[in-house]
Symmetry: C2
Subunit: 408 residues, 2 copies
C-alpha cells in the first residue's frame, strides 16, 4: 500500500496534464488544475473497513489525498466535524431529515482549515518556503497559521472590512499581513503582482491544486457519516465555490471506488447572498460561466466573491447533479441565524445561516421534498462574526436584584 | 448492560448520600456533591475495546456518565478534542514530549461545552424547565446554548468586562441575560437571590453535581488518546477548578475500573494568574482551602475566580497526585501566546497560554524532567478573545504594490 494514490494533475478545461511532484499553479490555458488519483488500483486495495481505528481527522483518507509522505503532514487535528441532527428546526422547516455538518468545530473555526491543512502540507512536501494569498479573512487566517506550523512564511492581503478576528489570527501567526481599501479582487491584484515580483508561491483560491483536495474531505466525511448512503440534497454557501467543487469531486471519486452507488448523487445547491450572486445569475440563465458582480455587498463576508475562478466547475457540479443555485437576503439570513440558535442551540456563521434559509426556500417551493435527507454545511463558527449579533442587555449594580417579570 | 452505572450522589466533606434521580444542589453541609458509580459491576461489564466504533464524542463513555436514558442526550458533537504534539515548542521549552489537548475544537469554542452538555442533559432528564447561573462568559455561553437546544429557559448574569463574544452567544440563544458592574462573585450573589425567589435550578459552578461529570471526560479522553498509559504531568488553567477536579475523578475511576494502572497517576498542576492566585497561595502555605483573593485582576478572564467553591477538592487533587500550583503574569502569558502561534500555528486562549508558561517555568525549575510526557490543556479558542492581540497592520490602496522589504 502506498500512502497516496495520487497520479498527476490535469486541466478540466483543456485536458492538459502536469506532474504532481513539482510546484504547479494554473494550467497554461489559465484554468485551475485538479488532482487525478489512480482509482483503479486503489479500488482493489482500499475498502471502507480499512478506515476502522484510524485517527478521527481528515488524514484518515490519506490514500485519496495528495501527500505522498506522512512525515509532511501539518495537522492540528482538523476534520471529522460533527454531523448534527436538527431535531427542532426540521419540524419548523417541514424537512423531516435535516442535518447540519458543523465546520465551526475545527482549528481556526472555519472549513478553511481543511484546505489549509492539505494545501500547506503539500507545499511543505514540495519544498515551498514562502506563500502568498488574498483573502476575505478566514482563508488567510487558516493558511497563515498552518504555514507557521509548517515553518513556511506567508504574505496575506485582506479587505479592511474583513472580520477583525481573522486579522488577529494572521497577525499572531507572524504573517506579513496587509489590509486593502477594497474587495478581495483588489487584494488579489496586489498579491498577483507580489507573486511575480518576489517569486512567492501563489495559493489564491484554485491557483494551486491542493486546497480543493482538503475541502473534498467534507464530501468524504458526509458519505462515511451516513454509512456510505449519500443524502438527497447538500446545500453549500458559495463564494469561491471550492467546497462545492471539492464535495462533488469526492462523490465522483467514491463512486469510482465503488464505495457509494453510481445511481444516486446528492443534488448540490450553491447558496449565495442577494448582494453577490453571480453563480445564481449564471445558473438561472443556463450559462456555464459567471460574470463579474459589480458593487457586491453582503454581511456574509465569506461569500462576497464577485467572480470565482472556478465558477465553471461549480456550475458544472450543479448541472451534473441536477442541483440549483439560490440567493438569500441579509435580513433573511440574520433572522435564520437567530432562529437556529434559539431552536437548536447552534450559533452558526452568517454564511451557514444563508444555506439554512435556502433550504427553507427550496422546501417552500417544493424543490426539496418532505422526507428527503438534507445536509446543510455550516462553514464556520458564529463566534467569528461578533458584529452580526446586536445585543441590548440590562446592566445591574452588585446590590441589585432580578425582577420577577424579567425572569419570566 | 445499563446505559449508565450511576449509583448515587455523595458529599466529599461529610459523606452524606443523596439520590440521583431527583434535582439536587449542594449538600446540607454546604459542600458540592459528587456522583458515585457502581464501579465494581461496571468493571466486570465494560472494557476499553467496547469503545471501538462508538461515536467520536464524549458520549462514548456513557456508562461512566450520569444520564440513564440516551433519549435525554443534548449534544452538538462535543468531545474527543485533538491531542496535538508540539513539535517545535517542545525543543524551545526543553520538554521532549509536549502535548496540547485543544479544547477550542468543540461547540462554543471552549471546554465549558463539556460541562454544559452533560449538565443540561441531566437537567432535562430530571425535568428542569428553568436554570440560572453567574459566569465569566464562556460557561454562560455554553449553558445558554445547550439549554436552548434542550428547550430549557436560562437566566445568565455576567460581569460587564466578560468577553463580548460570550454576550452574543447568550443573547442569540434567547437567554435572559444580565450584566453586572462587578466580578463573578457579584453575579453569583444576584443569581443566588434570584434562584431563591423564583425557584430556578441553580447551575452555578459545583452547585449542581453534573457539570463536573462532563469535565471529567477530558481525563477519560487523555487516557484513551494515550492508549491507557497516562502522561506524567497535566497542567490545567484553574479558575473554579472543575476541570482539574474532573480530570482527577476520571483518573481515579479509571484506576478502579482497571483501565489504567494504580501505581502511576499524572501530577496535576493548577495554573493561575498572578492577579488572582488563591489556590497557588493556599498550596504554597500547605493549606486545604483557599482564601478570597481581593481586587483580583487578569486578562485571562476565565481564571479570574477569587474564591472557588471546590477549592478543597482542587487542593486535594494536587496533594494526592504530588502536583503543584503555579501563577503566571499577564505579560508572560501574552508572550507565550504569541510564541505558540508562531511556532505551532495554534492560536490558544490566554488561559491556555498561561498553562504553557507554567510548564516552561516548571521545566526551568527542574520540577518537570526533560523526557517526561506533559499535557497542557488549552481550555478555549484564541478567537474568543479578540482584545488580547494587538494588531498594527499597514493599509494599502487598490493600486498600491507590496514593497520588497515588506515581504522579506
Amino acid at each position: 500500500m502506498k500512502f497516496s494514490y495520487i497520479s498527476h494533475l490535469y486541466c478540466p478545461k483543456c485536458s492538459n496534464e502536469y506532474e504532481s511532484d513539482t510546484v504547479q499553479n494554473l494550467c497554461e490555458c489559465g484554468a485551475p488544475l485538479l488532482v487525478k488519483y489512480d482509482l483503479n488500483t486503489l479500488a482493489d486495495n482500499w475498502k471502507p473497513k480499512d478506515l476502522e481505528g484510524r485517527s478521527n481527522n481528515l488524514w484518515r483518507y490519506h490514500e485519496l489525498l495528495p501527500l505522498t509522505d506522512d512525515s509532511n503532514i501539518v495537522s492540528m487535528g482538523e476534520g471529522m466535524t460533527p454531523l448534527i441532527e436538527m431535531d427542532s428546526l426540521n419540524t419548523h422547516m417541514g424537512i423531516n431529515n435535516l442535518y447540519m455538518k458543523d465546520e465551526g468545530i475545527i482549528p481556526t473555526g472555519t472549513f478553511k482549515a481543511r484546505g489549509a491543512a492539505v494545501g500547506v502540507s503539500k507545499a511543505k512536501e514540495l519544498g515551498v518556503k514562502e506563500l502568498a494569498m488574498p483573502t476575505n479573512g478566514n482563508a488567510g487566517a487558516a493558511w497563515s497559521l498552518y504555514a507557521a506550523r509548517a515553518g513556511i512564511s506567508s504574505t496575506i492581503v485582506m479587505p479592511v472590512d474583513a472580520p477583525k478576528i481573522t486579522r488577529n489570527e494572521c497577525a499572531i501567526s507572524g504573517s506579513n499581513l496587509y489590509l486593502v481599501n477594497g474587495l478581495i479582487s483588489d487584494a488579489g491584484k496586489i498579491v498577483g503582482e507580489a507573486v511575480k515580483e518576489h517569486n512567492l508561491y501563489d495559493v489564491s483560491t484554485l491557483k494551486e491544486p491542493y486546497r480543493i483536495e482538503g475541502k473534498k474531505t467534507m464530501g468524504l466525511e458526509i458519505a462515511e457519516q451516513f454509512n456510505w448512503e449519500v443524502p438527497d440534497v447538500i446545500l453549500y454557501p458559495t463564494g469561491g465555490g471550492v467546497g462545492l467543487i471539492g464535495i462533488y469531486k469526492a462523490l465522483k471519486e467514491l463512486q469510482e471506488l465503488g464505495w457509494i452507488k453510481k445511481d444516486k448523487i446528492p443534488r448540490l445547491v450553491a447558496v449565495q447572498s442577494e448582494g453577490c450572486a453571480p453563480i445564481v445569475k449564471a445558473w438561472e440563465e443556463g450559462k456555464t460561466e459567471s460574470e463579474f458582480w459589480n458593487d457586491s455587498e453582503t454581511l456574509a463576508f465569506g461569500i462576497n466573491v464577485p467572480k470565482a475562478l472556478g465558477d465553471f466547475l461549480v456550475l458544472n457540479a450543479i448541472y451534473e447533479t441536477e442541483g440549483c443555485a439560490v440567493s438569500v437576503s441579509d435580513e433573511a439570513l440574520l433572522e435564520e441565524q437567530k432562529l437556529i440558535s434559539q431552536k437548536e442551540g447552534l450559533f452558526v456563521c452568517p454564511e451557514g445561516a444563508a444555506a439554512f434559509n435556502a433550504a427553507r426556500q427550496l422546501r417552500n417551493d417544493g424543490w426539496i421534498k418532505e422526507d428527503e435527507k438534507v445536509v446543510v454545511l455550516n462553514t464556520g463558527a458564529g463566534i467569528k462574526y461578533p458584529n452580526t449579533v446586536s445585543v441590548d442587555v440590562p446592566t445591574l449594580e452588585p446590590n441589585e436584584r432580578l425582577k420577577p417579570a424579567a425572569i419570566k
